[in-house]
């Protein structure tokens, strides 16, 4: 894992001091709320429905047990005993007091963490494949490249007042586990003629106008990676729309300008910037790489004792093939039936930290699906690990099933929301669990957003639910056929929306159609793609 040196630590310390100074100037009345707002936002502090919300950055979703423990302690010390893991691989706290914020940032800085650029119209925390460094199918570990970009994007002097927020994801496998093409910039590390480089996709996103990013460059040499990113951002900073915040994301620029013209301008800027010395020295990447070197894996048993059916089910559902055949990546589901997706108590967070130290080389990952990964677990240790997880209510065997729902905080917390997401998620998971149909449905990605900003990724759900306000009442639109993976697609709306009871029933109805029509080996998404919308519509509305 990456370790700060004195330079990295000094940057974070300077930021804590700067924020304390800003908060003081706000309290002294030297800053208006309008002036303070973008500053607190750039430190991850939002004013929500009931309180301040603080979002903490977890660069490329990777953290160690000391950091995880600190996150649990913050939940208990400054929040109401909970932390909420987000679809951007971060954590947020929903009950923060403004006067505590600088102290929390200081606590975080002691474990090499911060809330820098987790909001605001700047380059946000960079996300990556949650199985990076463990996946059997990756070309290389993508995180060194993400770390290089983390440094470049931190306090970038030119790109702090962009037209709108800016999200970057970096992956290095054909299988996309990071929703890469639904980012402002998606980077895939690829190999061409024996050389490693970066493929750039620009202009994807969800929100109210979902778009899949087109590829604008199939290969950028690694010693020009930062320069190319700088060119992409400069064209956006200069020409992205600023007249309407709903049209200000880069996806709109790329769409309106056309991918070809945007690419032309980027290439022109890139050619210019190549002579400006903005690329960090090549040795820097070589310095970063060893931080992500493999731990020392040992050969051991490759199978488990399946005599306990509950354990066997969890192994089948929640463990993922590792590049070393005596290990797996184990997913800790934060989706207990009827629970709040992505929530964990302070105590559960500390338990996960302890288990990571004991069983996973001191490392954890946050998934964009709001679960936690222990990336390197010995197959021989799985039963002991599962026993402890199960005792802490962390053993739900439901990865990638209909119970593994992504949901935004919705109207229960969020100032932007039109409808509740959490209760809908709870009722759907309870319904399928009670009927014992979760396993039968297999992989089924269900995603719920409480407003059109789409934080719950509903456009990318095999089944998506969007909560809207219809004449003062919560109304839920159902959509089908989305995917955030390498087979990326945007979901289509089925038809008129439903009330809360209605949408829970509607989800069941579409799964019935699937079970009735599926062919051997088909997931819900595959069946939908084969038979189209009509049979689902018929079952829902006729």
């Amino acid at each position: 894992m990456y370790k700060y040196d004195t330079y990295d630590q000094a940057m974070v310390d300077a930021r804590v001091a700067e924020f304390r100074d800003q908060a003081n100037r706000r309290l002294e009345g030297k800053l208006t709320e309008d002036q303070f707002k973008p500053l607190r936002l750039m430190n991850g502090l939002y004013l929500q429905l009931h309180a301040y919300m603080l979002r903490v950055a977890i660069p490329y979703g990777t953290l160690n047990s000391e950091q995880m423990t600190a996150l649990g302690d913050i939940a208990d010390k400054y929040d109401r005993g909970y932390g909420h893991f987000t679809t951007r691989q971060n954590i947020q706290y929903n009950w923060i007091k403004l006067e505590d914020a600088a102290d929390i940032l200081e606590d975080l800085s002691k474990v090499e963490m911060h809330a820098i650029q987790t909001s605001g119209n700047c380059i946000r925390n960079i996300s990556s494949d949650h199985f990076a460094g463990a996946a059997h199918d990756e070309l290389v570990d993508p995180r060194p490249y993400a770390e290089l970009l983390r440094q470049w994007s931190s306090f970038h002097p030119e790109f702090t007042y962009l037209p709108r927020k800016f999200k970057i994801a970096v992956i290095a496998a054909e299988k996309d586990r990071a929703a890469m093409r639904l980012h402002d910039i998606g980077i895939q590390i690829v190999e061409q003629n024996g050389e490693i480089g970066a493929r750039f996709y620009v202009g994807g996103g969800m929100g109210r106008t979902p778009m899949i990013a087109p590829m604008i460059r199939d290969f950028v040499p690694l010693d020009q990676l930062v320069t190319y990113a700088e060119a992409c951002l400069r064209v956006y900073n200069r020409y992205g729309r600023r007249d309407n915040k709903y049209k200000a994301r880069i996806k709109i620029l790329v769409h309106e300008m056309g991918a070809e013209e945007y690419t032309r301008q980027v290439e022109e800027e890139f050619a210019h910037l190549l002579n400006q010395g903005v690329e960090p020295p090549r040795e820097e990447l070589e310095r970063i790489k060893p931080f992500f070197a493999d731990p020392v894996f040992e050969d051991g048993p490759k199978t488990v004792d399946r005599s306990d059916p509950d354990f066997a089910l969890w192994v089948d559902r929640n463990t993922v093939r590792h590049k070393h055949d005596s290990y797996v990546s184990a997913v800790i589901s934060l989706k207990p039936v009827g629970g709040i997706p992505g929530d964990a108590t302070g105590e559960q967070i500390r338990i996960m930290a302890r288990l990571a130290k004991q069983y996973s080389f001191d490392e954890l990952r946050v998934m964009h699906t709001q679960n936690i990964v222990l990336p390197h677990v010995k197959i021989a240790d799985l039963h002991a690990l599962w026993t402890e997880l199960d005792a802490a209510d962390l053993g739900a065997p439901n990865l990638d099933t209909v119970e593994d729902i992504i949901a935004c905080p919705g109207l229960d917390y969020c100032a932007l929301a039109n409808a509740r997401s959490i209760t809908v998620a709870q009722r759907i998971s309870e319904n399928f669990a009670a009927k014992g149909r979760t396993a039968e449905l297999g992989e089924l990605k269900l995603k719920i957003s409480g407003c059109i900003n789409a934080c719950g990724h509903h456009h990318a759900g095999h089944i998506g639910i969007l909560g809207v306000d219809k004449k003062g009442k919560e109304n839920y639109q159902l959509s089908l056929g989305g995917s955030e993976a390498e087979d990326v697609s945007l979901a289509k709306i089925t038809g008129p929306g439903f009330d809360e009871d209605g949408v829970v029933g509607a989800v069941e109805t579409v799964t019935d159609v699937y079970l009735d029509q599926r062919e051997e080996g088909e997931r819900f998404l595959d069946t939908y793609r084969r038979i189209g919308m009509a049979p689902f519509k018929e079952a829902l509305y006729d």
């Binding site: 330079y7 940057m11 306090f155 970038h156 030119e158 702090t160 007042y161 903005v278 020295p281």
Partner: protein
């Protein structure tokens, strides 16, 4: 020429240059391209700074206006001018606030004329926010500032 465009030397609150403060009538980018004798120009957020590149030799002052601090186009304009070798005064004017000073300075601004004068102590602290930096920007070119990544491999 519009005679009420631009700030006067009296309005410049912070300046990191030793030469005489330019006190010229400032013209728009379009006017600057048309007039062969203009020596001071004012860039608005929607202007293309690259239009000025053929005239950099005769310019002594470029003002970059920030009607709102949240509109960050002026940062790119500043870097583009410095990258093209402009060495005259680059003045940030308008809604220039304490917390933007350090980034503006790094993008090549060397004079600041905020609409509302800033607290001097707060501003001094703000200019000195970062002992070291991660990116190579105008400060690398002008002040020979090395980035953290360069310092690591010195």
């Amino acid at each position: 020429m519009t005679d009420n465009l631009g700030t006067s030397p009296d309005e410049v609150q912070f300046r990191f240059r030793d030469d005489e403060v330019a006190d010229h009538g400032t013209v728009t980018v379009d006017a600057c391209c048309d007039q062969t004798n203009a020596t001071a120009v004012r860039i608005e957020p929607g202007d293309d700074a690259r239009q000025l590149l053929p005239f950099l030799d005769r310019l002594a002052l470029v003002e970059v206006n920030f009607p709102s601090f949240a509109d960050g186009r002026g940062y790119s304009a500043a870097r583009i001018l410095r990258e093209a070798g402009y060495t005259g005064e680059l003045r940030a004017v308008g809604d220039v606030l304490i917390d933007q000073l350090s980034h503006m300075r790094r993008c090549g601004f060397d004079a600041f004329a905020p609409d509302t004068p800033l607290n001097e102590d707060d501003a001094r602290r703000a200019f000195a926010t970062w002992e070291n930096v991660y990116q190579s920007a105008a400060d690398a070119r002008e002040q020979g500032r090395k980035t953290i990544q360069e310092l690591r491999h010195d």
